[in-house]
Symmetry: C2
Subunit: 383 residues, 2 copies
Amino acid sequence: MKIEIPRGFKFYSGNAGFYSEDRPDILIIVAEEGCSATGVLTTNKLRAAPVRLAEEMLKKYRIFSGALINTGFANAATGKRGISDAQEILDFGKKVLDLPYPLIPASTGVIGSYLPLEKIKKALESLNKHDDLELAARSIMTTDSFPKFYSVKGSKEYCLAGITKGAGMIGPSLATTLTFVMTDADFSPYFLKKALLNAVQKTFNKIAVDGEQSTNDAIFLFSTGKIKVDKSMAKEFEILLVNLLYELSMKILRDGEGATKIIKVITKGFASKKDAENVAKRVALSPLVKTAVYGSDPNWGRIFACVGDSNSYIEEDRLRIFIGDYPVFKGEPVDFNRKELSDYLKGDSIEIVIDANLGKHESYFFSCDLSEKYVEINSSYTS
Amino acid sequence: MKIEIPRGFKFYSGNAGFYSEDRPDILIIVAEEGCSATGVLTTNKLRAAPVRLAEEMLKKYRIFSGALINTGFANAATGKRGISDAQEILDFGKKVLDLPYPLIPASTGVIGSYLPLEKIKKALESLNKHDDLELAARSIMTTDSFPKFYSVKGSKEYCLAGITKGAGMIGPSLATTLTFVMTDADFSPYFLKKALLNAVQKTFNKIAVDGEQSTNDAIFLFSTGKIKVDKSMAKEFEILLVNLLYELSMKILRDGEGATKIIKVITKGFASKKDAENVAKRVALSPLVKTAVYGSDPNWGRIFACVGDSNSYIEEDRLRIFIGDYPVFKGEPVDFNRKELSDYLKGDSIEIVIDANLGKHESYFFSCDLSEKYVEINSSYTS
């Protein structure tokens, strides 16, 4: 069954031969009559050329024809030439498709190589036009093992659809990997910007595969405004956008390099919000916790050690730790059924609950387990 | 050849059967006529019972009979009972050996189980007395694959000897794993404390296997004062102590769980000390950099991304990155001989140099590569 996409969008996939002859590696998202755009960009201080260029364009223009995305090369660490290369590709893409408004650039792939301009241009000269969300998602994959896309419908049949890519190098406190969300709901650019920021905070900023933050990460939201909406739908839209980004972010975790399980760390009872956030993130990112979960090993002492290593205020005799529904520490070690807990840990979604028992603040953080496969994938990426 | 140990020390090794019938798992370091003691303890907020007890004792007493170390069990997350268990073992050991002064406790092993008191007591009743530094080091091993010890001599033949253990869960900003340094040089406790802190800052606080900080980490320095020294030797002693802790810390890295190479990250040219320190640590701890080094993959873009992700002030066009002697980035990508650089990365000591080219501040940080073996070891530790 074909997945519906918001009215006014089309896709163009291309193949520059970066991965294989039959795998698309270039995508242009086109809003034929133009769209508004907003974005959340990486906070990495050495941002790639397309990210710097995108930021400028978001400030400068109000209407866009869409976005031009290439995989294979991140166009990061490429200095001034990186900027002019990106611009050259954008101009070429705009001309080839005869578009009235600018395209926003995005790149993902190896850092530190210049864009192979001729190859990309050649690919842009024979694009495949379609409206297939899955194929669009497939066209922006790098080490991803499956295409990541999602679509939801709101009142008056407005639609939200998104594609995302990313497997490793996914860290918190940024947009995290490339994500493109499209809608036809006619909300103001100001509202869409606020809604996107809020949704990113609750989803993409709460997941990590390995805590690494890339030079290229960005999440964009485009709207053609084809469906008239009224203010009463704003709340619904916000919820649907969080829902969409949540589903996309879970697909990324599920496909975390070498990941076999999703880990959700829930913190509660902390004296401050920051304390709750720190502990959730610290535990979720711990390689020792991640390997223990991978091995279905109920070695909760590693969770305990991370809690102590997190800078958050805690008191040992008030602290409670649960793995799933099983208490393992309540101010002192709890006798638990080792077999049952190990069986729980063999599932593909693991919850760890840490209750400081000191106050009312809570938080959460998602990550995935760490397997030999992560090392295998990442020890030979460029070679 | 037998390694010399400082005058006045003896060892007692025991076997409580935690690992195998012929592998010692308990050690008492004894200064028969007493010794001074100082220590640097973990900053983890959920410190194990022996660490809390040791801290109290270091404040309360001036002369000690040495230290009692058990492996197998960390006696962490064990609440009040942990403290009384540790005290019970200390009292028992002191009585068995008929010692005049208190023993300092140290434990290492699984977190969250109570000490098996009867097994330990039984082992303490049939200890093996010796003066073999290697056997002493062997008696405190857990997942270590080889015993870690080192010994140096100073003027007037005073001696410094140390043993250490630790393979994973080694993070910065703490004493890092259990380390016991012995000397017969008659320096004041005040001087020894200062010298130890200084040496730890320069060595153990600059290494990390996985960035994890344990509940039990401690470094102790004991002196019998058997060799009279004068003030003119203070500088020499400080240097030898740094040297000793450096050698011990490198043995830990070399034995980092699954490690095949040591990585040294050198930062220079930063606008502030903190900026230089942040970048060195951020790059050294990056799983993506560690896996690339493991795979001898000259994927320097990952180093670049980490530098940008470090919160330190940098300017892309001034930044220079070297792997060994090979420049890979100088404000823009540098053409390098891929084969030569990959060959360099096949060595067992890899240097990464990051020059911000902005100021005079520098730093360094040591870590090791990340292999499938790390995951293998850590996914099934307690089971």
